[in-house]
């Protein structure tokens, strides 16, 4: 067997995991790896302009593709810049593998130049992390990292790679299989399934509550089948958006603080709630003690920690969403058929009609609802919408009709401003033939707008639609509603000129100010052959409504007109 360097071993280990893209920035402590990448045609490295963007791009890539995304950085400052992005991936259960250079092992712990204690820093924000000390350990860590990232509930994994390990030579074998002693439980306990089926049969008004776990386990077909079999509506968390095509008659859209009224009311009225691959976050449930007050709860999740953590579960089922739903469907079909709850179904369809969100505003300044409506006219069911954080995000989550899994990507658990644009670049790299649109806020976009350079240089042609309200709008909304309109430090003003900013980077820029302009300009932007920025000037006074105040009850919403 031939001796190879750690750096070469890393790259071939990555290749054997099927890695084709890496987002990153080099530096002193990881030059040996970049030296190998220099002549490696099968791995495309995308040079970003800030490491936070590398992590978000890898995250967006992973969510769009359903496979791990990889980011890379140098030691110290480079690695620390990844931290927000890794935590974001952890909170939203996204499989990101992060690899960072580290000072040589003999310097560890000495405050050497650009040393940071990454083992400690990454430990609480990853599913697992490694500090590898030898070339053999390195190749095993890579194999494990990819397994762990995807096993059960997905999540990020970090490998810290001292410089001397990159340069030292060893005979290594890329292991076909590595021993992971810990094993996830995917198959549901049949007794629990039986209990669940009993509750389902008895229920008059069942509701399905789907989270990101449905998407990661590929359980959308089973989810829709169960909904149709029962005549039960499906509500989703932000992560679960797209788990059912939202134009399906039984889809009520997102639940919670900025959820749809019909979704919040259905949950309040239901007598059985089936949570699938969802963690009942406070943004979804409001006051957990009054969540689904009339309902028994079945909670299905592959991560047992989530079950019973925030909301009581009458039937807890630890298992993979797809396999569990299949078992439930099988058992239901084998029984005397109860079939569709027609009365409940009628009520759902009626709520869906009654509370259909209004979007056809003609106002100037533009209403964001109108902008989303025009975006929907242009995008097809395959298109991916990525969002930033704030009002823009909640308008997209509330109004945009997603027609399939992995077509709506947003920062949920961490709510990270600056996520959307780099994540959209990751999604576009993953799906080069798909239209990718970032629904951005002016504040969020500026947190990673330097990535316009990355997009232009690498010809990653996404369209960023900035919902420009000159405010940190979501914070302003809270100030308006709960702090007597005292808008402390939320006015952003008129700088920069986003069109000129785009042009300065060599991207395409245009401004949208009137109803009817968005659709044609978005079409043009998608066809212009460059990354594009649309500065969409919207009404700064608009709030995201309805809204359930933090800790409130879902049926007690602040409503608009």
């Amino acid at each position: 067997m031939k001796e190879i360097t750690g750096a070469a071993a890393l790259v071939s280990a990555l290749k054997s995991e099927g890695v084709r893209h890496i987002f990153g920035i080099p530096g002193g402590a990881i030059i040996p790896v970049y030296d190998v990448l220099y002549e490696e045609p099968s791995v495309r490295h995308i040079l970003v302009r800030h490491e936070q963007a590398a992590a978000h791009a890898a995250d967006g890539y992973a969510r769009a593709l359903g496979k791990p995304g990889v980011c890379m950085a140098t030691s110290g400052p480079g690695a620390c810049n990844l931290v927000t992005g890794i935590l974001n991936a952890y909170m939203d259960s996204s499989p990101v593998v992060a690899i960072t250079g580290q000072v040589p092992t003999s310097f560890l712990g000495t405050d050497a130049f650009q040393e940071a204690d990454l083992l400690s820093l990454m430990l609480p924000i990853t599913k697992h992390n490694f500090l590898v000390k030898s070339v053999q350990e390195l190749v095993e860590a890579v194999r494990k990292a990819f397994q762990i990232a995807m096993a059960g509930r997905p999540g990020p994994v970090h490998i810290d790679l001292p410089r001397d390990v990159q340069t030292s030579k060893a005979e290594v074998k890329i292991p076909a299989e590595v021993l992971r002693r810990r094993k996830e439980r995917y198959e549901p306990d049949p007794h629990r399934v039986e209990e669940a089926v009993k509750l389902i049969e008895e229920a008059e008004r069942p509701v399905l509550f789907a989270g990101g776990g449905v998407i990661w386990s590929g359980a959308s077909p089973e989810l829709v089948e169960l909904a149709e079999l029962l005549g039960a509506p499906v509500v989703t968390s932000l992560m679960g958006k797209g788990s059912i095509p939202e134009d399906h008659p039984l889809s009520l859209g997102m639940l919670g603080m900025h959820g749809r009224r019909a979704a919040n009311l259905a949950v309040t009225e239901c007598d059985l709630l089936i949570g699938v691959g969802v963690r009942f976050s406070d943004r979804s449930t409001g006051d957990a003690r009054h969540f689904a007050p009339k309902a028994k709860i079945i909670h299905i999740d592959v991560d047992s920690v989530e079950i019973g953590k925030l909301v009581r579960a009458d039937v807890p089922i630890v298992g993979d969403a797809k396999r569990t739903l299949r078992e439930i469907l099988k058992a239901l079909r084998a029984r005397a058929k109860r079939g569709v709850r027609s009365e409940w179904r009628e009520r759902i369809l009626q709520m869906r009609r009654e509370f259909a969100p209004k979007m056809d505003y003609d106002d100037v300044p533009l209403k964001p609802q109108r902008v989303i409506k025009e975006i929907m006219e242009v995008l097809d069911e395959d298109s991916v919408v990525v969002t930033e954080v704030g009002q823009c995000q909640m308008w997209a989550a509330h109004y945009y009709t997603v027609r399939g899994p992995r077509k709506f990507i947003s920062s949920g658990g961490l709510g990270t401003m600056g996520f959307g644009f780099p994540a959209s670049l990751g999604a576009k790299v993953a799906l080069p033939h798909t239209k990718v649109v970032d629904v951005a806020g002016d504040g969020s976009f500026l947190m990673n707008s330097q990535e316009l350079a990355t997009a232009v240089e690498n010809e990653i042609n996404v369209v960023c639609c900035i919902f420009d309200n000159s405010y940190l709008g979501m914070v302003k909304q809270w100030q308006d509603l709960f702090y007597g309109g005292r808008r402390s430090q939320t006015y952003l003003g008129k700088s920069p000129d986003f069109v000129k900013l785009a042009e300065a980077y060599g991207a395409w820029g245009d401004r949208v100010t009137r109803p009817g302009e968005m659709a044609p300009k978005l079409r043009e932007a998608l066809k212009c052959g460059k990354p594009a920025v649309l500065d969409v000037v919207i009404d700064p006074e608009e709030h995201v409504l309805p809204m359930v105040p933090a800790g409130g009850k879902l049926d007690q919403m602040i409503v608009g007109d």
């Binding site: 083992l119 400690s120 430990l123 609480p124 599913k127 697992h128 500090l131 762990i148 992971r180 002693r181 810990r182 991560d303 047992s304 920690v305 019973g308 953590k309």
Partner: protein, 163 residues
């Protein structure tokens, strides 16, 4: 809230104690004691004592099981397990009379005198927590100059601990 005992079997990898202990810190739980030993298999067994109610105990067990190096978490109940701890102690300089009284106290409590040097005694007591406590309190704070305790280790009486 009462004392809970976890017996955690895990891979003996760097940082595993940190991984385990931060799970408790993050949930505002102070550990009463944490000890670790390596089993013949090369795996490590960590014994953790902490105060919690039933719900938190079940939650913490699942939290630990989610960690990659952790293979098994047994919840030990005091009545189904054997507990031991060892304690070394050094007295201040003793007068002759005090010394013979101290030696008597230590020996009658089942302890051992390990060394007497320059009028100060180094002794050992092993046993369950109460036995150790009893001797230490009968010696009294004024007498003891230094105390080193192992923390409690537990072994399940069953072949499988309740989990």
């Amino acid at each position: 809230m009462r004392t809970r005992i976890f017996s955690v079997l895990c891979e003996n990898v760097a940082g595993v104690m940190m991984r385990v202990s931060r799970c408790f810190t993050r949930r505002q739980i102070n550990m009463d004691s944490i000890t670790v030993g390596i089993e013949p298999s090369g795996l490590a067994r960590i014994i953790i004592l902490f105060q919690a109610d039933d719900k938190m105990t079940a939650f913490m067990r699942k939290i630990l099981l989610r960690l990659e190096p952790i293979l098994e978490v047994q919840v030990l109940e005091p009545e189904n397990s054997i507990a031991r701890e060892i304690c070394l102690f050094k007295t201040r300089k003793l007068e002759e009379e005090e010394m013979s009284e101290t030696i008597r106290l230590v020996q009658s409590a089942g302890g051992k005198v390990l060394e007497i040097r320059e009028g100060s005694l180094i002794g050992e007591i092993g046993g369950n927590h109460e036995e150790v406590e009893r001797l230490l309190s009968s010696l009294g704070q004024g007498m003891l100059k230094e105390v080193a305790r192992s923390g409690q280790v537990y072994l399940s009486r069953n072949n499988r601990g309740s989990s």
